[in-house]
């Protein structure tokens, strides 16, 4: 077995989403099941045929919920990938391992946020991965992601001259893309001025540097490549997969290099596995909890050198007609915060050619990243 054994062993065979909105009175479980059922049917499968489940590690939903509601007779694989927003893309790797080795045939990855999800500072404090930050940093007044990540962003700005107006380019690009997406929560075009006038949240982050808070759910099915070819939809191959963790993963404060994320380790592995270079990538769905995190990831992926991400985004590279279009659905910044499961769904749609008005031309390969838990990264390179 070689290092790149997983290449093209698994496919995304089905995708599903609910409506995305600001709030809901429906439970996280009900929303998750709705999206999951849509994904299973999109693949042309019956819910009974799902024999592997990876629910989101922080959503309160467990594999047992799928046995109970789907009536699964023999669930053979269940796991969690507790990496915050890096979880869904990391789960693609875990699911591929399961289908490539024959442990399972069709693995469902699902994530939902409903009325039962609670407020962000409480959600964060209860995550086991946040234990260290919770003991030593939260009692001092750093309690939410915007506050933690602001320290990385400020360091990048001071070190490389990155500006708030460059952050704005990321927010505006996502918004432009969202105007062509009927399920996007924010569809009114945004200008640099709008961004600069938005209120300060955790300096250097303004309101429009921060992702949305949303209700909704998304899900995908990963099937073994030989089974996927007989299913309903054109298979989308998982060609390169990796997760990466930074040093001092539990606290940004102590991290040797504060302006590099776990993705810097994962990206070269996934690209080598796929046997592709960045020039081959037609579209990139980049985890965008904050504008700065997109800039940092573009550097960590290698689209530009460390420190040049600000100039890279302000030179039009990430626009729809740029060298590497990003977040064609609007991302977490303008479509919805479904913790990046919506980025996976969008990449599959682009590769299938199902994006309607926002469909890019000639999309054959793309990548999706995940980011979360103070620095963890994940990446999947997909191709048709």
């Amino acid at each position: 077995m070689n290092d790149f054994f997983l290449k093209n062993k698994g496919c995304v065979s089905g995708i599903g989403e609910t409506k995305y909105e600001k709030s809901t009175d429906r439970s996280t479980l009900a929303l998750t099941l709705e999206a999951s059922l849509a994904a299973v049917r999109d693949a042309g499968l019956s819910p009974h045929e799902i024999d592997g489940v990876i629910p989101y590690g922080a959503g309160g939903i467990v594999a047992e919920d799928f046995i109970t509601n789907f009536g699964i007779q023999d669930l053979r694989y269940s796991a969690q990938t507790p990496m915050g927003g890096a979880s869904p893309v990391a789960a693609l790797q875990s699911a591929t391992m399961a289908v490539a080795t024959g442990v399972a045939r069709h693995v469902l990855i699902a994530l939902g946020r409903g009325a039962t999800s609670g407020r962000i500072t409480n959600r964060l404090a209860q995550m086991p991965q946040m234990r260290v930050a919770s003991e030593f940093e939260m009692p001092l007044g750093t309690n939410a992601p915007a506050q933690f990540y602001a320290h990385m962003a400020r360091r990048h700005m001071e070190k490389y001259g990155t500006t708030s107006k460059q952050f704005a380019e990321v927010a505006i690009t996502c918004r432009e893309n969202a105007t062509k997406n009927e399920n996007a929560m924010m569809r009114k075009p945004m200008t640099v001025e709008d961004h600069q006038n938005s209120r300060m949240i955790a300096d250097p982050f303004r309101l429009y540097d921060c992702c949305l808070e949303s209700s909704g759910a998304a899900a995908v099915v990963v099937s073994s490549a030989d089974r996927a070819k007989d299913l309903r939809k054109k298979p989308v191959f998982l060609s390169g997969l990796a997760e990466g963790h930074p040093m001092s993963p539990s606290t940004i404060t102590q991290r040797p290099n504060m302006v590099e994320l776990g993705l810097a380790k994962a990206a070269p592995i996934a690209l080598r596995m796929a046997d592709l270079s960045l020039n081959d990538i037609d579209v990139a769905e980049i985890y965008d909890c904050f504008t700065y995190i997109v800039i940092c990831q573009l550097e960590d992926l290698g689209f530009c050198k460390k420190g040049e991400g600000g100039d890279f985004v302000s030179s039009g590279n990430i626009k729809k007609n740029g060298t590497i279009p990003i977040n064609t659905h609007g991302g977490l910044l303008s479509e919805a915060h479904i913790a990046g499961m919506n980025h996976i769904v969008e990449l599959v749609r682009q590769l299938r050619g199902e994006c309607g008005e926002r469909q890019l031309r000639d999309v054959e390969t793309g990548l999706v990243t995940g980011y979360g838990d103070l620095g963890d990264g994940s990446i999947a390179v997909m191709s048709t």
């Binding site: 030593f136 009692p139 001092l140 007044g141 939410a144 400020r154 949240i201 955790a202 102590q254």
Partner: protein, 139 residues
């Protein structure tokens, strides 16, 4: 505010307990591996260099400089609602560890830049909680 703040101090680890008690005595205690003498922060059971589980504590010089910072404007947590806006600094201490703490109230408008030197001071909030904060040297 106090009730909300106390809720945030319930997750104490055995290693962390000594650190928090040190703060009550106005000392910033750092763990030192008794095998290879590497200093570490935040408190934890094992030395990542030699994997020894044995350690003692040394008091920090409490001197350092700005590594990066943020300014919180949105009241994410009710315990800090009456503080906003407030500056939070990540400082590189003279010892090879960093510390995250707020900047003293009367220096909120000071010019901040990487490398600006500072001192750690201690704010006693209750009989069980004392938190570190920073005072900037004259620019």
């Amino acid at each position: 505010m106090m009730k909300n703040l106390e809720e945030l101090t319930l997750n104490r680890s055995p290693e962390g307990q000594t650190y928090w008690e040190g703060l009550l005595n106005e000392k910033l205690l750092l763990q030192r591996c008794t095998n290879c003498h590497k200093l570490r922060h935040y408190p934890r059971p094992m030395c990542d260099a030699c994997h020894s589980l044995d350690y003692d504590w040394v008091a920090s010089s409490c001197r350092g400089s700005i590594y990066t910072w943020s300014v919180s404007h949105h009241p994410f947590h009710p315990a800090f609602q009456d503080q906003i806006p407030y500056v939070m600094i990540t400082a590189q201490l003279e010892e090879p560890v960093r510390l995250l703490a707020p900047l003293v109230k009367h220096q909120q408008e000071e010019k901040l830049y990487i490398g600006r030197t500072l001192t750690v001071a201690f704010l006693k909030i209750s009989d069980t909680l004392c938190t570190p904060y920073f005072i900037l040297d004259k620019d």
